[in-house]
Each structure stands twice: as C-alpha cells, then as structure tokens.
C-alpha cells in the first residue's frame, strides 16, 4: 500500500524562503534583480471611486470635455513645462535600457505630449532628439552629467532616492557596461558599476538648498527643478525639498522598479506609494504649498484607475517606469520583428524563468530586447514599434483617467479629490486617510 504523502508547508519557511536559504548558502551573495516589490502591499487597488449619482452630477463619458493639461514648475522656473497629460515616463538609464528603447520612449512621449526622463549615465543624443520634453536627472554618481546637456534639458530632476532602494546606490552589472555605456560613465568596460548612495558635493537639507540654487544659476533660472525622494520619511522629506527650493517634488513609493538592486532593498526598505502619497500631500498642505509646488508620484502606477486615484489623493501627475517597460513587451512571450511575432520562450527558459515571471534585467539578456545592451538582443525592439505600443498604453491610461473623472463629474482631471474616494481595507483607509467604504471612519483620525 502506498503511503499517503502529507505535505504541510511551513508558513515561516515556505518554498520561497527555502529557495532563498538554498541560494544564499550556495553563493554567499545577496540576490540582485530587476522589477519592484513582489509582496502584497496596500495599494490603489484598495480604493474605489464613489462617482456621480443623485447627489453628484456625472459628465457624459465620451463627449463632454475633460481637460488633462498639466503644468509643472510654476514656483521659480522661468519656463515651466506644459504637458498634455498628467502621465510622464519615469527616469530609466541608458545602460539599463538600450539606445533604441530610449528612442522609443522619447517618440511615444512626444506624440502624447508628455515628458520622458534620462537616468544614471547621462543623456543620449537619441533620447534628446526624439523627446520634445526631456527631464535630465542629476544623480549622486553624476555619470555622464555635464553642463551642455543640462542646458539642453527642459527640466532637471535632482535624485535623492528611488522607491526601490531608498538609501542605496545603483548597481549596473558588468555585462551591461559596454564600450558606449562605459565611455559615457568614464569607467572601464565590463566593471560592475556602482553608483553612490548620496551626492558628492552636498550633505543635508541646507546644503541641498545651495545645490538647487547652483543648478538654477547655471541654467539661468529657466528650467523647473524637481527633487525626487524614495518613500521613507516622506512627510519630512517633502517639507525639506520645499525648503530647498524645489519647483516639483517626485515621491517614488516602494513598488517602484529597478533594473538591478538587492532584493532585500526592493522588498524591505521604504513605504508603499499609497502611504507616501498621503504624507507628501499632508506636507504640502501643512506648508500651504499645494498647487505652488507640484507633486509627481510614482511606484507601481499601472492603470488609468491608478492615475485617477493618485490625482484624487493630491498628486499633480504620475511617473511610470515598469508599466512602460511592460508596454514595450517586457515579460511577453514573443517580440515583434517586421510585423511577425517571434517566440522568445526559450530565451526566458535559458535565464531560468518564464514570460510573466521574468525579473532578470540585471543579466542584460532580456529576451525581448528591452533591458539589454547586447547588440543582437537589442534589435528585438524596433523603436517605431516600441513607440507605438507605449503611445497606445499611455493613450489607454489617459482614456481611463478621463472617463473616471467624468463619472465623478469633473471637467478637469485635476479636480478629482479625496472626497471622491473610499477605501476597501482598514490598512488602505489608515494609510491614505480615506474613509472605509460605507462608513465615515478613518482609522487613527475619527472614531468608528
């Protein structure tokens, strides 16, 4: 008689933890991977809109006007940025991504009337030429950073931290540090390139104010200056960024992606975007700076509903990274070549993964040619095809955003407000300080 198998999985040492321990004991190294946090977190999915009914007056979903124009950088900059939609493309480096991908992003952003952003490693001619509105990042490493590109930029984003790794620097593994990438970063070819975790020429908020002023002096006070923080002590960080003279503050929650970071950072450092956004808005309201300093939120924004909820909670715009890469074909089972779908499953398998589960950006062997510097693999992403897909994605998000706004009776997406939202879970209600659905209860604020 066959003995009955009893397979009771341990909650503490489940398959995932067992795999982690086996891996750690075999390699002696922490894991580095791409993408963002995989654990369940309170998110925009835990909020819903109340929309119009007898007590509120909805607008007709397809025909009535709903404005999406978004202006960023009105505080000090002589030349604020005007975008057609409140959805921007987040900073991602040439190095993490190929030049062809950067070109595709620039083209899509330009066609949609929005901005795209450089990343660690500097500005490439492809992205400058293809992007009508380009935000130039000033990062701790200052790789590729120079005054000529600074002057060519439409806005400057001073990056203090990133949602996937607050307090941590970057890591671009040697397989992606090709001749061109190394040349732009003044590094030897093939080194595992580390980026510093803090800036080299200032320390603390008072110095930051002087640094911001220097960037303004160099660019003659023309360009909006963003300050980007990874979400941790967001209430205080936002106040300090306002104090430092930011025109725009970017708050990146822990669901934000990365091309290569330690898993321990991705999963265990920072706070969810939902909680960070509310803290950021509270800080601006506390300083009476709401509307004077614009707020961009990023980190796990995927859908038009996410965008609408972020705006309702008080953001002026969102930035998207991972969603944009997915729209290019990341984690798709095939890539497009001259109109034909070419199966890439075998390449995923070679990496030890499968479409839908891949987070192997750090290897540089992206099966669909998105996060690679490999001369053959990068050809799998055609810039024009990629641009069309990103444009379609942004267009869909914007349609969803406006249709939700109209349902809430708003003729301008920026008129969405917290009163339009309720929470489905206690955690979301507490973090977002939005009432639990069907009640007036906000945990920590009002009594049930």
């Amino acid at each position: 008689m066959t003995k009955k198998l009893v397979l009771e999985e341990s909650a503490g040492f489940d398959q995932k933890v067992i795999e982690y321990v086996h891996r750690a004991s075999a390699t002696g190294l922490y894991e580095i991977r791409g993408m963002g946090a995989k654990r369940h977190l309170p998110s925009f999915d835990d909020l819903v809109f109340l929309a119009g009914s007898a007590s509120r007056y909805p607008l007709e979903g397809y025909r009535e006007k709903c404005t999406t124009t978004t202006v960023l950088g009105t505080r000090f900059a002589k030349k604020p940025i005007e975008l057609a939609i409140p959805i921007t493309i987040a900073g991602m480096s040439f190095g993490a991504l190929s030049g062809r991908v950067k070109e595709a992003l620039g083209r899509a952003a330009t066609e949609m009337g929005t901005s795209t952003t450089t990343g660690d490693g500097g500005m490439t001619p492809e992205e400058r030429q293809s992007s009508k509105t380009l935000v130039y990042q000033c990062l701790p490493s200052r790789y590729g950073f120079n005054p000529d590109d600074l002057r060519k930029a439409d806005a400057i984003e001073l990056v203090i931290g990133q949602g996937a790794k607050p307090g941590g620097g970057g890591m671009l593994l040697g397989q992606k540090v090709t001749k061109r990438v190394a040349g732009m970063r003044t590094l030897p070819i093939g080194v595992d390139q580390r980026s510093a975790c803090r800036h080299p020429d200032w320390t603390g908020p008072d110095d930051l104010a002087i640094k911001v002023a220097e960037l303004r002096e160099i660019t003659d006070w023309e360009k909006p200056i963003y300050i980007k923080v990874g979400a941790t002590r967001t209430f205080n960080d936002v106040k300090l960024a306002v104090h430092a003279g930011a025109d725009v503050i970017v708050v990146d929650g822990m669901q934000g992606g990365t091309a290569a970071t330690q898993t321990v950072f991705i999963e265990h450092i920072g706070i969810p975007t939902l909680a960070a956004l509310r803290q950021a808005v509270d800080a601006l309201e506390d300083m009476n700076m709401r509307g004077k300093v614009q707020l961009i939120v990023s980190g796990g924004i995927r859908t038009g509903a996410d965008v609408a909820k972020a705006l309702a909670m008080g953001a002026d715009a969102v930035a998207i990274g991972q969603g944009i890469l997915l729209s290019l074909g990341c984690n798709s089972s095939s890539y497009l070549h001259e109109g034909a779908h070419i199966d890439a499953t075998a390449d995923y398998n070679a990496l030890g993964t499968a479409p839908g589960y891949c987070h192997h950006c750090q290897t540089g062997k992206c099966p669909v040619g998105v996060t690679t510097q490999d001369e053959e693999l990068e050809l799998r992403l055609e810039p024009l095809t990629g641009a069309k897909r990103v444009k379609n994605y942004l267009k869909t998000l914007n349609m969803e955003l406006t249709t939700v706004a109209r349902a809430c009776g708003k003729s301008n997406v920026h008129h969405l407000e917290r009163e339009d939202l309720v929470a489905l879970t206690l955690e979301a209600a507490a973090m977002a300080r939005i009432p639990l659905a069907g009640t007036d209860w906000i945990p920590g604020v009002s009594r049930f």
């Binding site: 086996h22 891996r23 075999a26 390699t27 002696g28 190294l29 490493s141 200052r142 950073f145 120079n146 005054p147 600074l150 890591m171 040697g174 970063r185 003044t186 590094l187 030897p188 093939g190 080194v191 595992d192 580390r194 510093a196 080299p200 020429d201 200032w202 110095d207 002087i210 640094k211 002023a213 220097e214 002096e217 160099i218 660019t219 003659d220 006070w221």
Partner: protein, 228 residues
C-alpha cells in the same frame, strides 16, 4: 579690465551677465569680481574663455561646471569649488572646504592652501593640484584624472577608486579600500613635474609617491561561488 561689484548686483545678475552678455562682447577677456563675501555659485556655469579674478572669499560651488574660463579666487572657498568642471582652470589662493573638484571631468583645479574632506570625490578626468594637505576620504570613487598633494593626505585616501592616480608628497594617514601605493615610473615623475609646473609649485617630483586602484573591487562577485 571690467569690474563687477557684488555689493551692487546680485549673484544671479552676475551669472546671467557672464553667461549671456559677456560672450557677445568684444574685447573683454579679463574681469574682476569685487566683494564676493562668501556668496555661493559665483561664476558657476561659465562657458567662455575669459580670465576672472574674484577678489575675496567665495562660498559653495565657485566656478561650478566651469568650461573654458580661468578663474582665480583671491581668498578661501566653501564646498564644491569647481565641481564637475569640464575645462579651464580654477585657482584658489587660500584654502578650500569639502568636495573640492568633485566629479570634475577636465581642466585644472589648483588649491594653494589645504582642502577639507572628500577632495576629488568621484573625479572623472580633472587634474587637481593641492599645495597643502587634503582631508579624510579624499578621492572616494575617483574614476579618472590626476591629483597631486604636496602636503599630507587624511584617512581613507582613494577608497573604491577606479582609474584615477594620486601623487602624495607627505604622509598618508590611511588608504581606503582597494587603494594601494605603487612604484613611481618615469612617466609618473614627468606627470608630477608637469602638474607642479602648471600650478607654479616648486617641489622635486622624486619626493612624491603614487597611489592607484588595485582593481580588486571592479567585479563585486569575482570570488563568489557560482555553483547555484
């Protein structure tokens, strides 16, 4: 010679003049800035071949991101003098505070006195010549370029450095991770002689020792067991 007085105009007005009007003016190749009084970002973002004399002390980021200009500070400076400089020369007749020449890509930074912490941090091609001593953690993650230190170096010199080379005449309190002393070659002696000459310092190149990266941190997992 044209004089610009920071008691009469703001730093913003000064820099906008230097960026926008000066390049179009015929004949102005030399100017002086009076009463700097430790103000920040003086002559930041220069992009013209002009000689600038700053008559007094500067604050943070004097000559920041300089291209082409030759700037002399007749006094001391605060943090980040000549940060991310591309070309030209910045000379400080006095002392410099922290992060002097940070991330500089080209040109020459000369400091006649001492500098504080993190001189040459993340330098990317600049030449730095210091007449005095430099503070702790200088040359951190220095990627390219040369630094000549006529005095002493503090703790952690050259920590995690890449391809930059340092020449130190005095004592080194300690070297950072992956930095090592190496024998001087004829090329090194010639480089030190040329850099000292550029700065106007009279020392014997034979008195200097060379510090460079051991390159053991270039690949973080080089020694790891990859059986998994």
């Amino acid at each position: 010679m044209e004089s610009l007085d920071l008691h009469k105009i703001s730093v913003r007005e000064l820099n906008q003049y230097l960026h926008k009007e000066l390049p179009n003016k015929n004949g102005v190749k030399k100017l002086e800035i009076l009463n700097p009084d430790g103000m920040h970002s003086i002559a930041a973002g220069m992009d013209a071949p002009v000689d600038i004399d700053i008559k007094g002390h500067g604050g943070y980021y004097v000559g920041g991101m300089n291209k082409h200009a030759n700037i002399t500070v007749h006094g001391n400076v605060g943090w980040g003098v000549a940060e991310n400089m591309m070309s030209g020369t910045v000379r400080v007749k006095g002392f410099a505070s922290s992060a002097a020449g940070a991330t500089g890509r080209g040109g020459t930074l000369i400091i006649e006195g001492d500098t504080s912490l993190r001189c040459g941090i993340s330098m990317k091609g600049i030449d730095i010549v210091v007449g005095g001593s430099i503070g702790n953690f200088s040359g951190f993650m220095a990627q390219a370029g040369r630094m000549v230190i006529c005095g002493d170096a503090g703790d952690g010199l050259g920590d995690s450095m890449y391809e930059a080379v340092f020449y130190v005449r005095g004592k080194i309190k300690s070297l950072g991770a992956d930095a090592q002393e190496e024998p001087m070659t004829d090329a090194d002696y010639a480089a030190v002689k040329e850099l000292l000459g550029r700065a106007g310092f009279k020392h014997d190149p034979k008195e200097f020792k060379r510090v460079a990266g051991a390159k053991k941190l270039y690949n973080w997992n080089a020694d790891a067991n990859q059986e998994y």
